[in-house]
């Protein structure tokens, strides 16, 4: 595992991006360091550069200057192929919806993450099955084509896939926008608890400020200069977010023994 406890899960240094030939839009973020298990909420309205930031964090686009480290490993600037390789095994991604390849079965969709990461984990199938079970996907659903699932089920399968390689980072882009309020809360809790079990840091992107309380820290797209600020408004109903820091750290130190 790359997410060694002594390294931050994600580190941004002098993050600067602008589209080639365009001066109007820039993204500048002061130095950010996320400890392992410290979840981050990125809040911003559409058009604020969320998508671009996400593509940068995933290594699809190249940073203009500055550095990104994931689990202590240099991620940007690196060549596209190297970024792809690191993304495959160190970053899990969950989209708004339509996360799954419709013609593959549920299980194959989850295993897809392992295929492109190289045969890093030989027991990928067993891991995929235990993840699916933990996420409430019964065995009867595993061989079903993904297109037959409900939206909520699809999003849970997406979590399983994102966590299959025990990545340092899980980047979720508005994953709850297609869910109703009840499902939304259940989904976020499930996402965070599974991420904690795997020692994975979640970066959750949304326009919805109401969701911020689930996470330990926040980055505002309209105030990037402020950097990552901790959230103190802890809801008593959500023990997960209160315990995030401590639970996560203990999880990862003992994470080697317990498969997630």
């Amino acid at each position: 595992m790359l997410s060694k406890p002594n390294f931050p899960a994600l580190e941004l240094k002098n993050f600067h991006f602008q589209w080639p030939g365009q001066q109007a839009f820039t993204l500048d973020i002061p130095t950010v360091s996320l400890a392992v298990g410290q979840h981050l909420f990125i809040r911003g309205a559409s058009g604020s550069g969320k998508t671009t930031l996400l593509n940068l964090l995933c290594g699809i686009h190249r940073l203009t200057s500055g550095e990104i480290h994931i689990g202590g490993q240099l991620f940007q600037p690196l060549s596209g192929a190297k970024r792809d390789a690191i993304r495959a095994s160190n970053i899990g991604v969950v989209f708004q919806q339509l996360n799954l390849i419709s013609y593959l079965s549920v299980l194959d969709n989850v295993l897809l993450a392992g295929e492109f990461a190289g045969n890093k984990l030989p027991d990928a199938k067993a891991r995929a099955q235990s993840l699916l079970t933990a996420l409430g996907m019964s065995e009867a659903l595993w061989q079903k084509p993904a297109q037959q699932l409900s939206v909520g089920q699809q999003q849970r399968v997406a979590i399983a896939r994102a966590l299959l390689n025990e990545p340092a980072l899980l980047i979720a882009d508005e994953p709850t926008s297609a869910l109703d309020a009840d499902n939304r809360d259940a989904f976020i809790r499930l996402l965070l608890s599974e991420a904690n079990r795997c020692g994975t840091t979640v970066i959750f992107v949304s326009h919805d400020a109401q969701l911020a309380h689930y996470f330990g820290s926040v980055l505002q797209m309209d105030n990037l200069a402020a950097g990552v600020v901790p959230i103190n408004t802890v809801q008593p109903l959500q023990p997960t977010s209160a315990a995030t820091q401590t639970v996560a750290v203990t999880q990862t130190t003992s994470g080697e023994q317990t498969p997630c």
């Binding site: 996400l54 686009h61 991604v93 989209f95 339509l98 996360n99 013609y103 897809l112 993450a113 295929e115």
Partner: protein, 418 residues
Amino acid sequence: MLIRLARQSLWNRRGTALMTLLSLVISIALLLGIDHLRLEAKRSFTSTVSGTDLIVGARSGQLNLLLYSVFRLGNATNNISWQHYQQINKHPQVKWSIPLALGDSHRGFRVIGTNDDYFRFFRYGQQQQLEFAEGQAFADVYQTVLGAAVADKLGYQLGEQIILSHGVGAVSFSQHKDQPFTVVGILAPTGTPVDQSVHVSLAGIEAIHRGWQGGAPALGRQPKLSDAQLAELQPKVITGFMLGLKSKVATFALQRQINEFKAEPLTAILPGAALAELWQMLSMVENLLLLVTLLVLIAALIGMMTTLLAAMKERQREMAILRAVGARPWQLFWLIELEVLSLTLLSIGGALMTLTAALWLAQPLLSSQYGLVISIWPWHGHTGIVLSVLTGVSLVMGAIPSYLTYRQSVAQGLVIKL
């Protein structure tokens, strides 16, 4: 793993994939089929006569002579007198000769007046001799030996009586009704025009034309000939003859001598050279066919490209997911190319099977109707190369949607605007 993805993705779009496959199968089968027929026809064509060094007829072009003497097509320009034939026959270089007297027919099949030497010396294909399926060669004036296709098509058995007609049309108004011939032999199939021929003796030809003048029947009844008289019948003219020489080296010298024959204007041709010239004329048609087929194939490949390009939009999401789980852009490129490759290989397999089945079904018809004996397995030495080139071309054409997918996946990133 890419292979499995490509397979399942294709299966997911099996409706359009099947149509693409179908158009490719048809056009590849067309290409291979025309190529196959061309080669088989050429093989069958050039094997119609072998072992004959010279064919001699009245002065005419070499193609005309070849067509009427070997392919039973068209008519002779003139006859050769029996006397001059005998004179050339005595040339020291001549090993054997086969006289041919043409001009009559039986229900559309050409009648050939000849002698025993025809069955002894005529060779086709790989120096193969004529063989009898039933019966034997004619020994009497009013006996005939049928080619395999004649007997098969008209349903003739040994012992049957047939009437010859004057002229070579399928319908003749002038029949040699009073002098029927008895079938005494049926030849084994050869896949050459021999199958389409009715063979009688020169004496038989002479007998039915006895008393004729200027190509018109004799007036009044001709008295029946006694057997003794019949046996003495000698032809006055023949249409042409084939020569086998003792030494191939003498061929050109004898050809020149015959062409410069003083007593009668004659033409001697080398069958091999004449066949090659004839084939060259036909090859223009064949090349045209091949060109049309190639265009059909290109149209099918463009069709495949179009369906792949059309699918790109609906597959954006699929590509973004693959990128998100760490697929490199070049892997997406190869994912599309693999689909192209599978479609092409499947089409080639399908085309070979379709074509073999079609040839298997068509074979009896082709051999009975056109005397064309073709093999049902459409594979030749260069077929592998043709198919490899075809696969290469389809991959090059498939590279266009593949590259666009690659570009799109690099530019668009993971977030697709819905």
